[in-house]
Symmetry: C2
Subunit: 234 residues, 2 copies
DNA sequence: GGATTTTTAGAGTAATTACTCTAGAGGTCA
DNA sequence: TGACCTCTAGAGTAATTACTCTAAAAATCC
């Protein structure tokens, strides 16, 4: 029997992801959960507190998926990190779309979020440096930093962009997953010019694994169409 | 004497950019403009119509700044396009943060937006192909498509991300401009691995022009701090 | 088993906000 | 001048929604 507090967060996250935080009232959450509004406010003093708690949860999960590297990194480590990014994007897909509003109003939350971005950049940079130390990547310090920023922006923005264009994904998990895989493909292409050695050998296989749709047509949108077909067939 | 309709859009855009669309009511717009709510609703049947009109305006401006290439492209053309992207980001900074909500509710607007993204990708791809034809870029078709998608995502997401972290930018134009320049720097770094010939010769100068802050520290955040200092000094 | 604390229900409210409605001002044209 | 059309004012409203308050049920403790 999980606690009410946890169940509130679970339900809120689900509703936020599906309908967007702005379209989900606290009464909706309570109703979906079968509890009273009063009960909900007993556990969270306001809606912002729910969002903040969800963010905190999200942050912890990311840190689990993306542990700081220990020593040299292998090709398998790199694949594992990519998987971690994929999972992180999946979990946080609502946050990066709706969080800005709360950052605007809640300085404390904003400070935490800023810290989160800083830590994420630092951690990601260490990973890239680990890959460089293993000879899997070749790049100057400056290029590595720029690459890290671009990877971060892409990973954080991709879910929001794709959902804006394709809201059906919110109700269709397999379509949603396909879109995210496409996001990983984009990250792979982002890193591609810097890969060396074993990483370079596996590049084509990696692209093939995450590529969605027919590469001869418009990339982004055939990906969507193909995903829709695939999802409605399955 | 500009028309009331235009003035409503101007004021709405300004308020949306500064405070976020969600925090700006139609009554606020009317009041800031010195007209009555009834008057506002005489010109726009609802808030969505205002947002849609702003989007339409934004789209037209982008197309002006990013005309389709005619024949071979020079190095100067490329710089001009970068400038166009910068201006587009500046103009549309509120849209990509707040538009998703309206896309969710208004299928017609969503269709238009989808079309916009498609056109933008296509147009951008033509530009990249023009650069390739001139020997300024070297990349496979697939790589070029992936690059285009990444450039698009970066250009569209950058303003929202930076404003989420640094809301002071909304009230401080020079800080905001600095953040945008940093975004262009990121795009330059994105394209860097594919540059050839004259483009490659100018790469360092280009990075130097758009780089913000001290490259030996954390890129993203020293950029912010440096901008804050610069803005408060000037 | 009584006292105390934690958790829950559910009716209610104050505030916000997108939007309406009516009436009238101002311009234009015959 | 009068008819007509465009534009504007401004009070008002219906609906939403985050949040409160009181009391009772449930759990915990001694």
């Amino acid at each position: 029997m999980t606690g009410t507090k946890t169940r509130i967060l679970d339900t809120a996250l689900d509703l936020f992801n599906r309908h967007g935080e702005r379209n989900v009232t606290t009464n909706h959450i309570a109703e979906a959960l079968g509890i009273s509004p009063g009960n909900l406010y007993y556990h969270f003093r306001n809606k912002t507190a729910i969002v903040a708690a969800l963010f905190e949860r999200y942050r912890q999960q990311i840190w689990e998926w993306l542990p700081p590297p220990r020593g040299e990194l292998t090709w398998q480590d790199k694949m594992h990190y990519l998987q971690g990014i994929l999972e992180s994007m999946w979990q946080g897909r609502f946050l990066h779309r709706d969080l800005p509003h709360f950052l605007h109003q809640d300085p404390e939350l904003r400070a935490e979020y800023t810290r989160f971005v800083q830590d994420g950049m630092e951690r990601g940079l260490h990973i890239y440096q680990g890959l460089r130390a293993s000879g899997l990547i070749e790049a100057s310090d400056e290029d590595l930093r720029a690459l890290m920023v671009n990877t971060w922006v892409l990973a954080m923005s991709w879910p929001g962009l794709t959902h804006g264009l394709n809201p059906a994904a919110a109700e269709n998990e397999s379509l949603d997953r396909a879109l995210l895989r496409q996001g990983i493909y984009q990250i792979v292409c982002l890193e591609a010019p810097y890969l060396r050695g074993e990483a370079l050998d596996h590049l084509d296989a990696m692209k093939a694994e995450f590529r969605v749709g027919d590469s001869t047509e418009n990339l982004l949108f055939t990906a969507f169409d193909a995903s829709v077909r695939e999802a409605s067939n399955g």
